[in-house]
């Protein structure tokens, strides 16, 4: 079963159109949503969560087609939003009581464990927390009501590398249960590359690519050479090119690279950057 499935999803505002998004995220997997600022990542997440209405297309969440409000489904979805959203004048103790009275499946021991693990003070007002601490509290809430699906919008931004690594490990632990799924957007592509099974590229409100991460890394390579060598490559197989003072390089489909060409493996960030450059 797909935990998230969107078909021809469209949303238009004045000067903004998210166009025909077709996504499939199988249960038990992690999908990374990559895109530049304004690419439409947060809008797509809000559409999936039913916070805004699509102009056309369908969304299926945990096997249920979303035709309006999805209040009961939200018991099974843990969410971290870019804007955080917790009342700044309250402390962790009070937030705990609010959430305990909001979620039917609130797991108090889990929440207490995460608060200890993240080293969050329980008596200090949230407005006195650092950005990273606020993010950790939101993540602790998302992980403490036995959710089956986590939807995380820029959930690792503002965190130092050590805690980011710890949180990425927690996300990986979460998906060890085959019924647990994560959709995570981030501009820190290395984080997504580390934990994701699937990668979706959003660029200028269009889904450019959505595929298995390992397959993407197998299918594409980075070719190094002179400007003329790069220019001689089959244009239909070139994802993007870059000229620099040392010569030129291009991300190319592996199966059409001529023999004896100097290549190195491509990472997801390079693939995205070259793809966006070509489209610019």
């Amino acid at each position: 079963m797909n935990a998230i499935e969107t078909k021809d999803l469209c949303k238009a505002y004045t000067g903004f159109k998210l166009d025909k998004i077709n996504l499939e995220l199988p249960e038990g997997c992690i999908m990374g949503l990559i895109g530049e600022n304004g690419a439409g990542k947060s809008t797509l997440i809000k559409l999936i969560l039913g916070m805004i209405k699509a102009n056309s297309g369908t969304i299926t969440l945990l096997g249920k087609e979303n035709g309006g409000e999805i209040t009961s489904l939200k018991e099974d979805i843990g969410v971290v939003l870019d804007d955080r959203g917790l009342p700044s004048c309250l402390n962790v103790k009070q937030i705990h009581k609010i959430m305990k009275n909001s979620f039917k499946n609130w797991n108090q021991p889990d929440f207490n464990d995460y608060i200890d693990r993240f080293g969050l003070p329980i008596d200090i007002k949230i407005k006195d927390f650092s950005t990273g601490m606020k993010m950790k509290l939101n993540i602790a809430i998302a992980l403490s009501h036995n959710a089956k699906l986590l939807i995380l919008d820029e959930a690792t931004s503002g965190l130092d590398p050590v805690i980011r690594n710890e949180i990425l490990n927690i996300f990986e632990e979460f998906t060890r249960n085959e019924h647990h799924t994560i959709l995570i957007s981030s501009h820190i592509v290395s984080d997504l590359e580390k934990i994701c099974d699937y990668i979706a590229f959003l660029h200028k409100r269009k889904l450019m690519l959505c595929d298995d991460k390992d397959k993407l890394k197998e299918d594409y390579v980075l070719v190094h050479g002179t400007y003329d060598e790069i220019k001689a490559l089959d244009p239909s197989s070139v994802v993007g090119t870059e000229l620099n003072s040392y010569g030129a390089q291009a991300v190319v489909k592996k199966d059409v690279v001529p023999p004896n060409t100097k290549t190195t493996p491509v990472d997801i960030e390079q693939l995205f950057v070259f793809m966006v450059k070509e489209d610019a």
Partner: protein
């Protein structure tokens, strides 16, 4: 709903202490001057009935209005919690005022009667302002509220002068009109609640 009410209760206790001070001062003045006391009592009740608008502004500032939509609350429930707080606040403040007056002033039954009637009138303030705030946000809602109040007052003055000699008005005694106030207030509050739900459902944050 319990989680939402608890969140608002915490915010009232943390951020709205000034309301408590205003309530105490206004009622102290009201008790000290029995004749003019009614104005201060009703004023303190009005302040409490507008608590939901203050709570909405805190929600908007903290982006709770967006985050709450990712929690298992329907939009109808998000709206209803604010209306419930306004209503409960109004009833509680009226109860406290009546209690204070009975202890310190031994007021006559007619004072309590008129206090309850005019007190129910204060519900009209949140009933008018809340739908605008749910539709347009707190800042725009406040501007529109001001415009609406001016328009309603102007229209009211015009209608009242036009109907001053009307036979219909003459048939309705002052007492009958005042008896209708609580009913009209509650009906208006209920209608406002339903309108706010509809408006908030169509709003995209």
């Amino acid at each position: 709903m319990k989680g939402l009410l608890l969140k608002d209760a915490y915010i009232i206790l943390k951020q709205c202490r000034s309301y408590v001070y205003i309530f105490i001062i206004a009622n102290a003045i009201g008790l000290a001057f029995s004749q003019q006391g009614m104005f201060y009592s009703i004023y303190s009740c009005l302040i409490v009935s507008l608590l939901p608008t203050t709570l909405l502004s805190y929600d908007e500032r903290d982006k709770w209005d967006v985050y709450a939509q990712s929690l298992p609350f329907s939009k109808a429930r998000l709206v209803s919690s604010k209306y419930l707080i306004g209503l409960l606040g109004c009833i509680a403040s009226l109860f406290i005022i009546v209690l204070l007056k009975s202890i310190f002033q031994h007021s006559s039954l007619s004072v309590y009667f008129s206090l309850a009637l005019t007190g129910s009138l204060v519900l009209m303030a949140p009933a008018i302002v809340l739908p605008f705030m749910f539709r347009f946000g707190v800042e725009k809602g406040r501007v529109l509220y001001t415009v609406l109040v001016v328009a309603v007052c102007a229209a009211g003055g015009f209608v009242s002068s036009a109907l001053s000699d009307s036979a219909i008005v003459a048939k309705i005694s002052g007492n009958t009109l005042i008896m209708l106030i609580p009913v009209i207030s509650l009906l208006l509050y209920a209608a406002s609640w339903l309108i706010s739900i509809k408006l908030y459902k169509s709003k995209e944050i």
